[in-house]
Amino acid sequence: MDELPIPADAISAELEDLVFAGLPATRRSFLRAAGFGVGVAAVAGCSRAPVQKAIPHLTPPESIVPGRAYAIASTCAGCSAACGVLATCRDGRPVKLEGNPEHPLSRGGLCAVGQAELLSLYDSQRLDGARDREGGIGWDQADQLVVAELARIRADGGRVRLLTGTVHSPSTRAVIGRLLASLPDAAHVQYDAASTSAILDAHARSHGQRILPRYFFEQAQVVASFDADFLGTWISPVEHAAGWRQARDPEAEPPRMSTVVQFEGRLSLTGTRADRRVRIAPWETEPALARLVERLGVLAGGRAPSASAGRAETATLEEVDAVAGLLWQHRGAALVVAGAADGVAQDLVNRANVLLGAYGRTLDVERPSLQKRGDERALEQLRQELAAGAVDLLLVAGCNPVYELPDSEDLLAGLSATAMVIACSPSLDETAAAAHLVLPEPHSLESWGDAEPVAGFCTLQQPTAPPLRSARTLRATLARWMGDARGDRELLQAHWESELFARQDAIGSPAAFFAAALSRGFAELAPQPVPGAEAAAPAPAGSAFVAPADLVLVLHPQIAIPDGRHAHNPWLQELPDPVSKVAWDNCASVSPATARELGLRAGDVVRLNAGERAIELPAWVQTGQHDRVVAVALGYGRAGTDRFADVGPEWLQARATVESGGTIGENAAPLVARTAAGRVFAGAAVTVEKTGRRVELACSQDHHTLEVPAHLAPKGGEVRDPARELAFAAWQADPEHALHRGHHAPGEGELWAADHENDGPRWGLAVDLAACTGCSACVIACQAENNVPVVGKDEVRRHREMHWLRIDRYFEGAEGEERVHHQPMMCQHCDHAPCETVCPVLATVHSASGLNQQVYNRCVGTRYCANNCPYKVRRFNWFDYAHDDALENLALNPDVTVRSRGVMEKCSMCVQRIQEARSEARRRGEKVEDGAIRTACQQSCPTQAIVFGDHADPAGRMARLAASHRAYGVLDELGVAPSVRYLAGMNNDPLAPARAGHAETGGGHG
């Protein structure tokens, strides 16, 4: 570069030079002239490049209108809860998954994992066709191998074992039953990565049936939960969250508000939303439950309390006494749940629930849950058989034992001692890599299936796209080995029309019954009688870890990655954990006091030694955690996750998300303790050693903060309280003033005079913080709907995550006593939007219906708007984010522009959905009905915390909520008149000393 920069005011002089001086021109003037030439050429041209083709159908598919989306009712297979989904499809492929509002379990919600199942359909690393250890073989060849082996076993005898996750598909169970019956010594062993086996065993003892009750949180006025994360990851979180929400509606008449008391060692999502949270160490669970049962016994007029077990802290026992009183007061509408894998504890839970009259009210054993059927004892027995080399054929399906189970070396040795190991797995996972044959299973969105998640309730899963890979379901595979060559649909339909049809009498013909189930997505039937416990109920096993230790391990599933199956999903990897806000990693989480004691900072790599096992993980400091607990998330460290090495943009300073050959996070499964009764996830003693290394975690906790720097704060505005919470009692006593005592009234002070007219709708959102659990389903729903790119760990560390909707997390109160608030934060569509005034090119402007519009094709990327946004919700495209995986691109929503480098973007309030609803209403000549438009975040929310609507329609649901005495705008004091109104959270803790009004929010921003 040998020319001098030309000052702006010298342009005319330069032009003069250009015109008069003639050649030789400088480089710049040459380019200018050349540019003019190109412009002229373009003006004169009249052909178009590239030529676009318009290829119609040959014959149009029935009921599909070109250009319109259609929905297919199906069942989510993201976990074993079997929530109902409606797959929004375009041109023969799904582009978005939504909850099915008619589904009686999930009631319209769909969690983050369920939403992200869409992306895993388009995973380019799924296996294509059967393979053996050398590589691909034909399906026929694979079948011949297995059929020959089965024939040999039938003739000569031999052991066949099926190892699966919970199989809740009635048609698959029927086929498995047929196969087992045809073999001399065959058994089906099920286990769940996150086991609830102890609950089933406890019911075998107390009720004579090995069942998992169905929990009705909607019926529970008081819930005492011992380490059961029922809003986050336990059994069926969407169903539980919907129930929990139903029991907590301050806007209902009369207001409903249940109380949840959470006893736990780590800080779970349920713990963050509990009305009262008691930190206990894992070894205290059993004595605390014993004390609870004793107290309830006394209250029920039973025997006097015996000397309580001595291992629990006195404070814990006092809490338990108080909670027992509260539970007793609400007996019949009270519920005790525990997540512990501890037989004695689960026995105590059952006794407490019997004393409280909970059976038949808040939990049901007549129509039990079939969502988890894992049997840890059977698994342990299988391991022994495998170790002894006593199994001739092992079929593994729907699980990944080599990754998920501890002592995987022993297991691998057992597998190599087995004559034939067959893995039915969609990808080449750890177990499939050790198998002789891999028969890939299709994705749930491209195959037929069914589920009976609750006895008497069956849901159907149907393909939403043609098969993208050559794969076969377990059902079809097993049927074929028995000489039944029917396809999946035929097998399924036959089972429904023969077996399931007979269990109902509402519909007269089998074909009509199946058709109705297809259209609704589910069918309600008479429950099948649950067989009594086959063997004698196992004796309860006490906790393996009863002695207090200096530090104990708590291994838990994470919200975003509940088990290793989802570790290959970039949406879920980039979803910050709602509690720690760390993405792309699992950590060894310790309390602040323990961190101080050990001299740890977040990011220090530590070595965790539990028994003979050790793993190295970055430390994380988590307030609210018990001081003796080290919490580690399971589900990380999956083989092959180094595929995300270059997930982010390529540039000079880019750092890989993961080293080549490495993994995202570390697998903590080796640290799980094994006992005769199965795996134990909490309580093992652990030591923490510093390694001296440090890593920088991708934590979004302090990104996009709404806090104001002390030196910039206006007088009186130093402390902002974006997330507010009210005590239920105070609110009931004085609903009108409970919120606004000591606060600016809403709308007080407008930044500018009203300068634009608005006589049509004024769209807005109402977000009820009393309902929000922080589960982050909305974040992924928004990502899927709005083509939000994944940026990778390094970019997240640079505060460049692209999520349009984030969940802010706030701690309030003293260390260890914190209340936690979750606050979904998206563009507030301010009426006096500060972003709009600073845009030099009018790329962000206000619409007549109150939307703050971002116009990508106008934006030049000055980023002034993001600077001026008080809510920090604007996201800048620093790069062209990767869209070179053609298969993955099929997940893009064709109704939303894929943004390019250099433009700003942000929540549009799903304007594409608004436009669709308006066009449809216009076509029918109707008005847009209240509730006809649902944003992606609203649709997915299991607790209906987000409501979209029109501020100008006072009868609409959103406007009524926005008029609640709980409603406020975040940073209302700025006078920007946000269109998003928040309803203050609600805390119903009858055991707390009465608080005056609501507490001020302080502490760290999330």
């Binding site: 008069f20 290829i55 040959l58 619409s847 219906s849 939303v896 594409q912 109707e926």
Partner: protein, 227 residues
């Protein structure tokens, strides 16, 4: 210096006149404006004949226009609703009939070369029997009316308010080969939107005699088309 100024003024004046002449005589358009684009199509389909002469309703073929954002290109099978029976122009059929009469034989089936392409696409021979080994493939038309990817145009509200197809697509009923008649540029859209009063379903009509103000004309919000 003064001489330089005179020369400069002369150059500028020449440039100005040149530009005016150019604008007046040539079809000057901005890049991206494809007005007049009329590529050769794989089958020489005549809108003049179908829509003009035969007066087939636009929505018979572009049936999604009133119920979808996209009007849609008719599925190839739809052509066969008529062309299973009509295989050539009337003149050709008449000529053959006369020739056959003169020669005292049965008239042969006449298939025009363009309709033969349609049959070929569907994997059929001239007698509409499947050609062995031929796979039916839809006709790959060349797209004429194509908006930029960041524009989301929706036919439904336009159809519902009675905007004629010709308003945007021009006199299609007179086009032998389909041609982009209008600019389809944002300014062109806005021209119409600014001039058209807003009808809101269920609400009284606005005062059409009053000058249109922002809130009384059809939406010109960016997010109406860009999202």
């Amino acid at each position: 210096m003064a001489e330089g100024r005179t020369t400069g003024a002369f150059v500028l004046v020449t440039l100005a006149f040149g530009s005016i002449t150019l604008v007046a005589t040539a079809d000057i358009r901005l890049p991206g404006n494809h007005r007049g684009y009329a590529p050769e199509q794989p089958i020489a389909f005549s809108h003049r004949q179908h829509a003009g002469e035969l007066k087939i309703d636009c929505q018979y073929c572009h049936y999604a226009a009133s119920k979808s954002p996209n009007a849609g290109i008719p599925p190839t099978g739809l052509c066969m609703n008529c062309h299973a029976h009509v295989s050539a122009g009337f003149d050709a059929v008449l000529e053959e009939r006369e020739a056959a009469e003169a020669e005292g034989r049965d008239p042969r089936r006449i298939v025009s070369p363009e309709i033969a392409k349609l049959y070929a696409a569907l994997g059929l021979d001239d007698d509409l029997d499947p050609v062995p080994g031929a796979e039916p493939r839809p006709v790959e038309w060349i797209r004429v009316h194509d908006l930029a990817d960041f524009v989301y145009f929706d036919h439904r509200p336009h159809m519902a308010t009675g905007v004629a197809c010709q308003t945007c697509h021009g006199p299609v009923q007179g086009m032998e080969r389909i041609r982009q008649e209008t600019a389809l540029s944002m300014g062109w859209c806005l021209d119409c939107h600014r001039k058209s009063p807003a009808f809101r379903p269920g609400e009284p009509l606005p005062d059409l005699t009053a000058p249109l103000r922002y809130r009384h004309h059809v939406s010109t919000d960016c997010a109406t088309c860009h999202f």
